[in-house]
């Protein structure tokens, strides 16, 4: 059975609720024949405006619900499902409210900001749905902090192996070893570090004194482990980056869009 997410919550219950509501509204809109063009100031315009403003408030309420850890009225997954489908519905409800008339003004700005919020929300939903598996696969291998600690240990282990070794060994170790400074940019934009080329290494090991060869193999093993760890760290950091990055657009845009909504409401009633 497929795992239930906020997307397919209760067999798309909230998707159907919103689709049906939108269909009813679309039928009313099609039958509505107002004086002049359809706009926000007809009875249907006001009704849909009130509905959309309530919807926006409901979407903002999710931020509170998300942090209400002891709420038992609703499940967080259910609340997120409503958040998703309600947000998507608003992208059609608002144009119906204004009769598809847009301009260079604060009213349309509110719509544009809302649409950007919705789009970043869709982006976030896609990230969550597509990364759910990936994040799960990292579990058990440790958090970034644990991985970093392991990395330090392997570095030290590598260092200790270079004690009292020949110049050839040191030069090989110098070539193989590297210092790793984990950065966010590398994790997000750089690819994985390639594993060591064992065939080349075998030749180089052969050139060493026989008493140093076993240490060299160990050293290479440690470096390989280090590369593995670094790649794991990068993957984890990258996943966490994308899971947060969209929020840096979604949340501020939601704030802006709600502020623009308030200004829209005040201004249309100020200059009736």
């Amino acid at each position: 059975m497929r795992e239930e997410t906020f997307f397919n919550y209760r067999n798309f219950k909230w998707m159907w609720v919103h689709l049906i509501a939108l269909t009813v509204i679309l039928i009313i809109y099609a039958l509505h024949d107002p004086v002049g063009e359809p706009a926000g100031d007809t009875w249907l315009g006001y009704f849909l405006g009130v509905l959309a403003a309530a919807g926006m408030t409901g979407l903002m309420w999710y931020a509170i619900r998300k942090r209400a850890y002891y709420s038992s009225q609703t499940t967080l997954k259910g609340a997120l499902a409503v958040h998703l489908w309600l947000g998507l519905s608003l992208s059609l409800l608002v144009p119906l409210h204004c009769g598809f008339s847009f301009g260079m003004n604060v009213h349309t700005l509110a719509y544009v900001l809302m649409m950007l919020t919705i789009l970043t929300g869709v982006w976030g939903a896609i990230i969550y749905l597509s990364m759910a598996k990936e994040i799960g696969s990292h579990r058990g291998k440790g958090s970034v902090k644990e991985l970093l600690e392991k990395l330090t240990l392997t570095s030290t282990a590598a260092d200790s192996l270079t004690l009292k070794k020949s110049a050839t060994f040191i030069s090989l170790a110098q070539k193989l070893d590297f210092n790793f400074h984990p950065t966010l940019r590398d994790a997000v934009f750089e690819g994985e570090i390639l594993a060591l080329d064992q065939s080349v290494l075998a030749r180089q090991i052969a050139e060493l004194n026989t008493d140093e060869q076993s240490d060299a193999v160990k050293f290479i093993g440690i470096v390989s482990r280090k590369i593995e760890l670094i790649n794991l760290i990068r993957q984890e950091v990258k996943a966490q980056f994308w899971m947060k990055a969209w929020l840096y657009l979604h949340v501020p845009l939601a704030c802006l869009s709600y502020a623009a909504l308030l200004i829209h409401i005040i201004s249309v009633f100020y200059y009736r």
Partner: protein, 564 residues
């Protein structure tokens, strides 16, 4: 010469501790690797970072890390000779060189507090890999955004900057001059645009007054200009035109007020039969509205006679020979009103009906005017003729022409009286012919007055006609828009068309059924969708009377009142 490595440790309690390591070697390897002489565990140090060696020139230093990470006195070097006081920096570590005659000391300062910080930094390294470490909290960004958007789109418009951002759309072209003055129309906050704002510039004396009267005892019927005249909908003024709006009152208008006499009009299909303005009597200029429903009772009492049938017959005897008249030869279109210019005798009749009065004088005519003017003209023309004939014969010089600058010779009274009597006789005879036989009575109602022959005024009176030019003054009709339709299709009674009409009494106006052949409430019936305002104006007067018009100066005052 020996090389010493001294670490000065600053403890947390403020004390310092000095640890010195002596090296009796000439070449020292410094690095993170276990093979190094001076082992530096720091992560940024290479396994074998640099070599310090005693040379002839002094103490030398060489970067062997391959990372280009060796600075002497902040200058990047790969190899250098050190002197006392030099500062060496690599892999995040700093040495100060302290030379004396028998040793060279590399002094490194370490601080426990600093090392704690390094430790903390290490634990922070996880944090540093998150966006949260790089960027402010997204709620904080949101809060700043809210402040910014309120400043730009709320407070600035309130104080008069960026006001356009509140406008829901472009204002109509005619109001562009007040586009920036929101308060010109929106005089008070949170209340709808009031009519007085419109009236600052516009003057209207019409339907809205009737409406205002109605609203004085039926407040629910109160209407604002803005209810029909929307704004912010683009360059073209938006005017409410839907029939439903009109029908919302006119559908059952009589129920609104018992004094209302006009009929209910639920829609175009239910529009009552047209009414035409007819004169109350032939001698009255007062009109009365009569419905075309009872056609048999309708008579145009205008005191004029015109036989349309005769005039529209082919091959009439025109001034230039045989001619066939078209309607437009007399009813001349007036582009300004989209109707017709009033009939004018001089323009429309005279070419066929010249007002000549004497066969002997084929060119001589009288004016188309008041009977006295006609009589005066006759008298004057006969007098001229009489004088001209006598002069040419030279038989009587008692009356002479006056030459400019010359003297007037007094005529003998006997000669003048004789001439005057002759002229009057001729004039009277011509007058009778004109008024009763050849001209006036053909079209006009002529009556003979009891006037003595020798009096200097006309013996006839003519009933003055006012030819109706606008049968339905309450309606707008565009003749050019109906150019393709033959005139007689609409201009007919229930019995005859205009081409067959012989009597001026015929009211040659068609009823609403003819309109309904092509026009309907909506285009769904395969007809022209026709709103009420296609034929009716909400405002009774289109345009203003001259006294209502303003000078530019007055309009400027109005605009100033609007705060400009």
């Amino acid at each position: 010469m020996r090389i010493k490595h001294t670490v000065i440790i600053g403890r947390k309690n403020g004390q310092t501790e000095r640890v010195t390591q002596d090296y009796s070697k000439d070449v020292l390897v410094v690095g993170r690797g276990g093979n190094s002489d001076i082992i530096m565990p720091q992560n940024r140090v290479a396994l074998e970072h640099l070599i310090i060696s005693l040379r002839e020139a002094g103490l030398g230093i060489t970067d062997t890390s391959g990372r280009k990470d060796l600075y002497v006195n902040d200058a990047l070097v790969s190899d250098a000779i050190l002197k006392s006081g030099d500062k060496i920096r690599f892999g995040g570590i700093e040495f100060t060189v302290n030379m004396s005659a028998d040793y060279c000391e590399l002094v490194e300062n370490r601080s426990e507090v600093q090392e704690d910080k390094i430790e903390e930094a290490a634990t922070l390294s996880t944090e540093r890999l998150t966006l949260r470490y790089r960027l402010p909290d997204f709620w904080r960004i949101g809060a700043w955004g809210i402040i910014a958007i309120f400043v730009i789109y709320f407070f600035l418009p309130i104080v008069g900057v960026n006001k356009g951002s509140w406008s829901s759309g472009p204002i109509s072209n005619n109001h562009k001059m007040i586009e920036q003055d929101c308060a010109a129309c929106h005089s008070s906050p949170f209340s709808a645009v009031e009519d007085k704002a419109c009236m600052t510039c516009h003057v209207m004396t019409d339907h809205s007054e009737k409406l205002a009267r109605l609203a004085s005892h039926r407040s629910d019927l109160k209407m604002r200009c803005a209810e029909c005249h929307g704004e912010h909908d683009g360059n073209h003024a938006s005017i409410e035109k839907s029939a439903e709006s009109c029908a919302s009152c006119h559908g059952d208008i009589r129920s609104l007020d018992p004094e209302i006499r006009i009929e209910n009009v639920p829609n175009f299909q239910g529009h009552p039969e047209f009414k035409v303005d007819l004169y109350k009597a032939s001698d009255s200029s007062e009109t009365v509205q009569k419905s075309l429903t009872n056609r048999s009772e309708l008579k145009d009492l205008t005191p004029i006679k015109l036989n349309h049938k005769v005039h529209l017959a082919p091959d009439l005897n025109g001034p230039d020979g045989s001619t066939t008249l078209e309607c437009a030869d007399c009813h001349r279109p007036d582009p300004a009103t989209k109707s017709f210019k009033p009939i004018s005798f001089e323009r429309d009749c005279m070419s066929c009906h010249p007002l000549s009065f004497d066969e002997r004088l084929p060119q001589a005519q009288v004016p188309h005017g008041e009977p006295n003017e006609v009589f005066d003209s006759l008298y004057a023309q006969y007098a001229q003729i009489a004088l001209g004939l006598e002069n040419s014969k030279g038989e009587d010089d008692s009356v002479t022409r006056t030459k400019p600058g010359g003297t007037v010779e007094r005529a003998t009274s006997k000669g003048v009286d004789f001439a005057r009597a002759a002229i009057l006789r001729e004039a009277r005879q011509a007058e009778r012919e004109l008024f009763t036989k050849t001209a006036c009575q053909l079209c006009h109602q002529v009556t003979e007055l009891d006037i003595k022959e020798n009096e200097n005024q006309s013996k006839f009176a003519v009933a003055k006609p006012i030819i109706p030019n606008d049968w339905m003054p309450g309606a707008i009709f565009s003749h050019p828009a109906h150019d393709e339709v033959k005139c007689e299709e609409c201009h007919r009674t229930d019995k005859v068309t205009v081409r067959e009409s012989e009597s001026t009494e015929d009211v040659l106006m068609s009823g609403i059924k003819d309109c309904q052949l092509c026009h309907a409430d909506n285009h769904k019936a395969g007809k022209v969708q026709s709103e009420c305002v296609m034929c009716h104006s909400f405002h009774d007067s289109i345009g203003l009377s001259h006294s209502d018009k303003r000078s530019f100066a007055d309009l400027a005052v109005s605009l100033n009142k609007l705060g400009r």
